[in-house]
């Protein structure tokens, strides 16, 4: 598969690309987990984070990925280390960006390593962030569009990870995702390219997962991708189209 972001990522040192600025590329990388080179790259990135003692909730998605692919205990231990540090921190005030940093990690940890012990608590943390910041009159969280985009991402990560057999928790995240998406879409056209890419990613994942109506939202996605191209952001547009196939 000729994916530009594959070349782009593989040209970098493992771990080097793993900052929020490259998050989308890395996410797409993990979507193609049957690609041996990409898989190796993600696993090597996880190794690099462990070696440098730089495992964080944000980059822990590589650790979960590596654990799933290799089954090696070092990844499990690294994940548990991240969780222990998180547990030791006092709970901060609700914040969309912070939610992006930690909540998807918490959900993944609960589902995969903690026997779902605190899935309800994690879902409640998502709800707390949403309730605390949601402005009913404005129908938005009142944060920057980019922060909303990251929150959408965090919601989708949580939704994909949470079992729908824990329906009340799963559904709570879906409901927040839907209202958040509706709140941000009016700003899509005027957002900067990076924010547009984030929002479109969140939207297209929702369509792909069957959470929102494709008849209503796919035209929005297509229009958004055309906007990206009009701004010369061909790579971001390609990435969305290639990453999601022919949604």
């Amino acid at each position: 598969m000729a994916l530009w972001f594959k070349e782009y990522l593989l040209a970098k040192e493992p771990g080097a690309a793993w900052d929020p600025a490259e998050d989308l590329a890395v996410r797409f990388c993990m979507r193609f987990s049957d690609d041996a080179e990409l898989t190796r790259y993600v696993v090597h990135s996880a190794d690099a984070f462990i070696a440098a003692d730089k495992c964080t909730p944000s980059n822990a998605k590589t650790l979960f990925f590596a654990l799933e692919k290799t089954g090696e205990d070092k990844y499990r231990e690294a994940i548990c280390g991240v969780m222990a540090r998180l547990d030791a921190q006092p709970e901060a005030a609700p914040d969309l960006s912070a939610a992006y940093e930690t909540l998807p990690f918490r959900m993944a940890y609960e589902m995969k390593l903690n026997r779902m012990e605190r899935v309800g608590r994690t879902a409640a943390m998502y709800c707390d962030v949403h309730k605390h910041l949601w402005n009913h009159k404005a129908q938005s969280h009142g944060e920057s569009l980019q922060a909303e985009g990251w929150f959408l991402m965090a919601l989708m990560d949580g939704i994909e990870c949470c079992s729908d057999q824990l329906y009340e928790h799963w559904r709570a995240l879906v409901d927040i995702y839907r209202v958040t998406l509706r709140g941000v879409l009016p700003g899509l056209e005027t957002a900067d390219a990076r924010t547009q890419a984030l929002l479109l990613y969140g939207l297209m994942r929702g369509v792909e997962r069957g959470l929102i109506d494709p008849e209503r939202y796919l035209p929005v996605a297509r229009k958004g991708i055309a906007l990206l191209r009009a701004k010369g952001e061909e790579r971001a547009a390609d990435m969305l189209e290639e990453g999601f196939g022919v949604l």
């Binding site: 026997r115 779902m116 012990e117 899935v119 309800g120 079992s163 729908d164 057999q165 824990l166 329906y167 009340e168 559904r171 839907r178 509706r182 929102i212 109506d213």
Partner: protein
């Protein structure tokens, strides 16, 4: 001895009578039946159905024993508009040809009060959908064989978001959550005034398909049921035999005014999740004269998990279960574990339970929610033979992906909140249980004990050679045998004329029981 013959249901072509001679499932002795003065045959079950009647006709049924008439009843059959024989619609009935479209066409065009007739033969089909005001007769010798290829099955989505994004349409269900499922063998959605009857067979062919392999894994959608009706009313199923279900057998769902008479539900004892009869969030149900022998609970009364219970607040209410035979399987009659909408007013009487793991089995857990109230459950005149533990109430049931977490399993008091279920009054009257392993196990929540357990005229005999079993499926419950009653976290236990014999140790073992009235 004379008795009053009762009419439970009459259609244009059939009738179901009750012959209350004191028997439970079977009558105490066989009876001759005369229909309009002519020999009809023998009746050996208390709930007895007769087929092959003629529409809009007056009948007199006389019931006779060796000494003469012991009861009689007269009735008039319903009118019938037309009979649509599925063979006229192209059904072949050779067990090979796909007869789905032919049968479905007959149902879809059937006029009001018309009959779709499925005569003797083997009909290879995919799921069939019901329509209002139709009667479907599956005659003796007719077997419908459900296709074994899941890729051909329609899927009913769990939830579909409305076009204006303000509400949901719930079509599919799996274990109390609105999840995608393959359409049931017989599916009904929003239909009224339907009768499915006859001496024919619905064979789900779970033994020949891959439904029972990796059964806990969702592949495409969750497994189909044999009979699933959603938002339906005035539906009767009479006489039909259900075999080898891919999953639960009959699941009426958010439906009202239903009768299930003389049905026969069988599946291998090791078949997974083949519950017999699982009404969920329904009201006004009569289940009479049913026979169950299968791989899970014979009857499981349900009301969804937390989302469905809290959102729709629809309990399963007003059920009468009588003259049934529950054999093998896990529970004779279960409430839960999906009970978040509540279960109340359940009256089970004159039933025989044989070789089930448990008799009455109430299952719930923290997280089912404050709508999850089980109340007014009455067992009366029941005989249990070789039932492992006849009475089980378990509020720490370790079901669901998170069922073994500390939150669910903790024996310490947890805060009572919107996720805490409640068990009200459970009563047993005139119940005899023989050859049991453990007399009973009542395990409430420490923060919200079971409110009231009443036992009156109850006799329990422990088996001398009972294999040890865990009476309740909760963490920390050890296997026992020859054990008396155990009550943990119960407000009040009432015991009047209760005898337990053959147990090792005390008759009643209490822990955090506020009051015992004897």
């Amino acid at each position: 001895m004379m008795f009053e013959v009762k009419k439970l249901f009459v259609s244009a072509r059939s009738v179901t009578l009750e012959l209350p001679d004191g028997g439970l499932y079977n009558t105490k002795k066989p009876y001759r039946i005369l229909l309009n003065g002519e020999e009809w045959g023998m009746a050996e079950t208390v709930v007895h159905s007769m087929y092959g009647l003629w529409p809009d006709t007056k009948y007199v049924v006389k019931v006779l024993d060796e000494n003469g008439e012991v009861g009689r009843i007269s009735f008039r059959t319903e009118k019938e508009s037309y009979t649509l024989n599925v063979r006229r619609f192209g059904a072949v009935g050779d067990g090979v040809h796909d007869d789905t479209a032919a049968i479905q066409a007959a149902i879809n065009v059937c006029p009001k009060k018309g009959r779709v007739l499925i005569p003797a033969g083997e009909y290879h089909v995919l799921p069939i959908f019901l329509k209002s005001h139709v009667r479907i007769e599956i005659q003796k010798g007719a077997t419908l064989l459900l296709d074994t290829d899941r890729s051909k099955f329609p899927i009913l989505p769990g939830m579909i978001h409305s076009t204006d994004e303000t509400s949901d349409l719930n079509l599919g269900s799996w274990e109390g959550n609105p999840l995608d499922m393959f359409a049931a063998f017989i599916s009904g959605n929003g239909v009224k005034d339907v009768v499915l009857y006859g001496e024919g067979v619905l064979d789900g062919q779970g033994d020949k398909a891959d439904w029972w392999v990796n059964h806990r894994t969702m592949r495409g959608a969750w497994r189909p049921r044999m009979f699933f009706i959603n938002d339906c009313e005035d539906v009767t199923v009479q006489g039909i035999s259900f075999r080898n279900s891919p999953a639960w057998n009959l699941q009426p769902y958010f439906s009202r005014n239903l009768k299930f008479l003389n049905i026969h539900v069988t599946a291998p004892a090791d078949s997974p999740n083949t519950d017999g009869f699982d009404p969920e969030s329904c009201e006004h149900i009569l289940l009479a004269g049913a026979h169950f022998s299968l791989g899970d609970d014979c009857i499981a009364i349900k009301a969804g998990k937390l989302y469905m219970g809290a959102t729709y607040k629809t309990p399963c209410s007003d059920l009468e279960i009588s003259h049934c035979l529950m054999e093998n399987g896990h529970g004779g009659m279960t409430c839960g574990s999906e009970m978040a909408g509540g279960v109340n007013k359940v009256y089970l009487h004159d039933c025989l339970m044989r070789n089930t793991d448990r008799g009455l089995r109430i299952k719930t857990r923290r997280g089912r929610g404050e709508q999850g109230v089980i109340d007014d459950i009455v067992f009366e005149n029941v005989l249990m033979e070789r039932v492992g533990t006849p009475y089980v109430v378990n509020c720490l049931y370790f079901c669901d992906p998170d069922g073994k977490t500390e939150y669910v399993q903790s024996r310490e008091k947890q805060p009572v909140d919107e996720r805490t279920p409640r068990i009200g009054r459970i009563a047993f009257r005139d119940v005899t249980a023989t050859d049991v392993t453990c007399a009973g196990y009542f395990l409430g929540l420490p923060e919200r004990p079971i409110e009231r357990v009443e036992m009156e005229n109850v006799s329990i005999t422990c088996a001398a050679d009972a294999e040890p079993m865990a009476p309740a499926m909760a963490c920390g419950v050890e296997k026992v045998s020859r054990k008396g009653l155990v009550a943990i976290n119960v407000d009040k236990v009432v015991m009047k004329n209760v005898t337990i014999t053959g147990q090792d140790g005390v008759m009643l073992e209490c822990e955090n029981v506020a009051e015992v009235e004897e």
